[in-house]
């Protein structure tokens, strides 16, 4: 029960969509998690807490931060596509890597098909290539400072 209780709190924080769905249909909790009656009321009260908007936003800001730091040109080039792209990425990968470089590298791999799409925003492919090259250079310097051999990158 404790396991499911913590998982439920984490998932309504990571997914505003799920949080809103639970508000509208509290029975969703019973469908997804094994909770005691008290735990069910606690999770429901959290989903309806007025600070959940802020909590969900902070979580998304924390996930966005390493991408902005490591892939600034790519994030800028996505322009109005940024929000739907991030929503899709976070649906595909609900939990971030602890290490920001790995999270950024994973986002790069995930984004690659879009960069090759003729309908992609202008300049996205070039921004993505430049950011990825710079990212790998920084990882190389960091690994050298940590006495770890440089990897052979998957393309």
């Amino acid at each position: 029960m404790l396991n499911d209780f913590q998982q439920a709190l984490a998932e309504i924080t990571a997914s505003p969509r799920l949080c809103v769905a639970v508000r509208r249909n509290p029975d969703l909790l019973a469908e997804r998690y094994q909770l005691s009656e008290r735990e069910r009321r606690q999770v429901l009260a959290t989903a309806n807490h007025p600070s959940m908007e802020c909590t969900c936003s902070l979580y998304r800001a924390n996930r966005l931060a390493p991408l902005v730091r490591n892939l600034p040109r790519t994030i800028a080039a996505l322009t109005e596509r940024l929000e739907p792209v991030l929503n899709d990425y976070w649906e595909a990968h609900p939990w971030p890597h602890r290490y920001g470089y790995l999270e950024s590298e994973r986002f790069c791999r995930w984004l690659e098909p879009l960069t090759a799409d003729p309908a992609a925003p202008a300049g996205l492919r070039e921004s993505w290539q430049g950011d990825r090259r710079d990212l790998r250079e920084r990882v190389g310097l960091f690994l050298a400072d940590s006495a770890i051999p440089l990897p052979t990158w998957e393309t």
Binding site: N3, E39, M52, W95, R98, F142, D145, A147
Partner: protein, 311 residues
């Protein structure tokens, strides 16, 4: 840089939580800094159990050498935000060992503090992912047993005194078996940990529907408190947050002046700010906080030996 003041033995020491602006700040305030706190998780990178680079942990030598040099002559304690001790999962032994390793590389931690939050969901789909979140803990018998076991194991592995920090709650839980000070008092009474009392976190929790600061401090055992954090925050989307973006608000100073002289085992008072707000706080802001902290520390007498149950 001015020289570090001698380590006080009769009152709590005054210090800062390390962040990337600290070396610059120390150039101007080191005469007021008696200890540093360091988040060990910022001193290495966790590449995951299936690291593409072979090793799970990377310890950047240049950073560790710089911080080791900065803390020379100062007490250093670990202030971790990594282990997610209340998560319904076993203790991450390798991560605990990496934190200990950082302490060794920096010349030794006086103690290790962790946050009383669920930081990692129990069923993250990727090993060693972290949620980027700080969830509230359900204060009940099940969590108490889980935490007691993990604290005991962590203390055995690290050999360090352990403290738990009260969380900043944006969405406090309802209907708990016990309140937070009772939960912390119980852990302390059973010899599992002391308390890192973050007074600003109390303000955050109060403003978001948690216990009032007065009620909380009336229930918390003052003997359990070994370190205190001061900080400031701001509102975001109508919610008061622990953003570490401001100087310590007067409501927190007021509580500090009334409660800290009652804490016989208080060894350190630490100011936290986020480096991204340093341009607004500035060296003069930090100096002002440290001067007030010294005045506060003078009103607190430290017991020669810890009273109550040792941790």
């Amino acid at each position: 840089m001015t020289s570090a003041p001698p380590q006080p033995t009769h009152r709590p020491s005054v210090g800062l939580l390390f962040n990337p602006s600290t070396p610059e700040v120390m150039e101007q305030v080191s005469d007021l800094v008696e200890h540093l706190s360091v988040n060990p998780g910022q001193m290495f990178n966790d590449l995951g159990a299936h690291s593409p680079f072979g090793a799970r942990f990377a310890f950047p030598a240049s950073l560790l050498q710089a911080v080791a040099g900065l803390r020379e002559g100062l007490m250093l304690n670990g202030h971790s935000f990594s282990l997610s001790l209340p998560s319904a999962t076993p203790l991450d032994d390798d991560l605990a060992d990496a934190i200990s390793h950082v302490g060794d590389r920096l010349g030794g931690f006086a103690w290790l503090a962790e946050h009383l939050n669920v930081l990692i969901p129990p069923r993250g789909p990727e090993a060693h992912s972290e949620g980027g979140m700080a969830l509230p803990v359900n204060y009940d018998a099940e969590t108490l047993a889980l935490l007691s076991h993990k604290l005991q194991r962590l203390r055995q592995r690290s050999g360090l005194r352990l403290l738990l920090e009260n969380p900043a709650l944006l969405t406090p839980l309802t209907e708990m078996e016990m309140d937070e000070p009772t939960f912390l008092n119980t852990l302390h009474r059973n010899g599992h940990c002391g308390v890192l009392l973050d007074l600003h976190n109390l303000l955050v929790s109060e403003r978001n529907g948690g216990l009032s600061m007065e009620h909380y401090l009336a229930r918390l055992n003052p003997e359990a408190v070994e370190e205190v954090h001061l900080a400031g925050g701001e509102e975001l989307f109508g919610t008061y947050t622990d953003s570490h973006s401001q100087l310590t608000p007067e409501a927190v100073w007021s509580m500090a002046r009334s409660f800290l002289p009652c804490c016989p085992n208080l060894r350190a008072i630490t100011f936290e700010y986020n480096e991204t707000y340093f341009q607004f706080i500035g060296c003069q802001g930090v100096r002002g906080e440290l001067e007030r902290m010294h005045h506060l520390a003078q009103s607190c007498a430290l017991s020669p030996a810890p009273t109550g149950v040792p941790c």
